[in-house]
Symmetry: C2
Subunit: 261 residues, 2 copies
């Protein structure tokens, strides 16, 4: 977990807070049900002793010219941020070092991380490792119009630590693809293609593809009102969060099993 990067980018954040986020985020990862036998989580800051050597070996092969081009760094960029891509890239080779043989690396990450792995692919073979590959993950849209999550608008996102009732309220206030009046909605149908509520069904809360198609059809034909559709989602969100938060609390007891040794 990149607590060093968070700290270096955010003037308001102390390092201690950033490292705290690592352990908070680790609880979310564990609550998702990962197998501790196949998982290790590490903090760039707390586990730097395990990863610094590999980071140095990467850093020796990356110039300022490269990180300037790849990340848009400038003269005013601090030297910690300039160093950090070496640590991010190092993760692609870490398992090879730990196991003492060349292990291919597949990275499930949001698409905004792509430039790190492109930079890493450029140096991987020179260092004797396979080029890493990424699964490009889409961003989950937020709940406000436009679909962008914003930390300055807490209602625009559901946090895993939101009280379930609070999260349900957020869903009920979400931006949808609905029409201005009930009459228009019946006549013209909704627009799932711009609807955040539909997106939440699509990405997370409707596992049955047949049901998803049926929901879209109902929406487009005006056969379901936005209020009803949001209420159903809010119920599912409440059920999910209640279970997730129980698993997240239990994760505190096994956190040590997941952290890198």
């Amino acid at each position: 977990m990149t607590d060093d990067e968070k700290f270096l980018h955010d003037d308001e954040l102390t390092l201690e807070q950033a490292v705290g986020f690592t352990y908070d985020n680790a609880l979310d990862v564990i609550a998702c049900g990962l197998d501790p036998e196949k998982t290790f989580i590490f903090s760039d800051t707390d586990h730097i002793g395990e990863v610094y050597r590999l980071g140095l070996k990467v850093a020796k092969r990356v110039t300022f010219s490269t990180v300037k081009a790849v990340f848009g760094f400038q003269e005013s960029t601090n030297i910690g941020m300039i160093w950090y891509p070496a640590l991010q890239a190092m993760t692609c080779f870490l398992q090879s070092v730990r196991e003492g043989e060349n292990i291919p690396c597949l990275i499930p990450a949001a698409i905004d991380q792509d430039n790190y792995w492109r930079m890493t692919r450029d140096i991987a073979e020179k260092m004797g490792y396979y080029k890493p590959a990424q699964i490009h993950a889409k961003f989950l849209p937020g709940l406000a119009q436009g679909g962008k999550m914003s930390s300055s608008q807490p209602d625009s996102a559901i946090f895993t630590t939101d009280p379930p009732r609070r999260a349900a309220q957020k869903v009920m206030r979400a931006f949808t693809g609905g029409r201005d009046t009930v009459e228009e909605q019946r006549r013209l149908g909704g627009r799932p293609e711009v609807c955040n509520v539909y997106a939440y069904y699509f990405f997370l809360f409707e596992e049955d593809d047949g049901e998803l198609v049926e929901r879209e059809r109902l929406c487009r034909s005006g056969g379901i009102a936005c209020g009803e559709c949001k209420r159903e989602l809010a119920d599912r969100v409440k059920v999910f969060l209640t279970g997730f938060q129980e698993r997240r609390e239990r994760a505190r007891d096994v956190l040590g099993d997941y952290m890198m040794k």
Copy 2:
């Protein structure tokens, strides 16, 4: 000990070799007679876990623009070298962090390290620490003409690990301020101001100031030949190295007492 810097600057050096130098150099430091109660030695690489947080806090306050101006870094500089000044600067505040109170820092270092401490002085007070101060140490001259030590000319320097007889040979071959012939030497006298042998007496091998003045007088008046002067120095170097190397070997047994906990 800055094994990370050595590694990042030298294309031929592996990180493992660089870290090895740290422990070799530590033996020299210990053989000089430092008190283990008042000394701790650390490797940037092996002890990074103890110092990375403080390094990050420094790095956040130093821009590329600054290290470019101070160290002459360029677009082609690797990002490890760009990060490294944060680790070097961090040492000035490390004791304050370890003791939990603001401790002034005095650095005995060769004058080529001055730019690190100037950079550090610029950020010290913003971070809540005293500005560090340096004792500027002169470089000890080498034995070849011009007085520069060079790793490509092993005869230009005495290494603490040189066999004493080998070191004595180097002294006997040293560049002096002597004249071309014995006759000229007697008539014109030697030139201690350009003589490496005299410099070794001055810096290291003549503790008695009266004796030093007498040696200079004898030299300038032609009262002592270079061969004799070198033989005396060679004897002192042999005696010193014999004792030093015994202490250096014994240092292996107490190395752990000196390393940072």
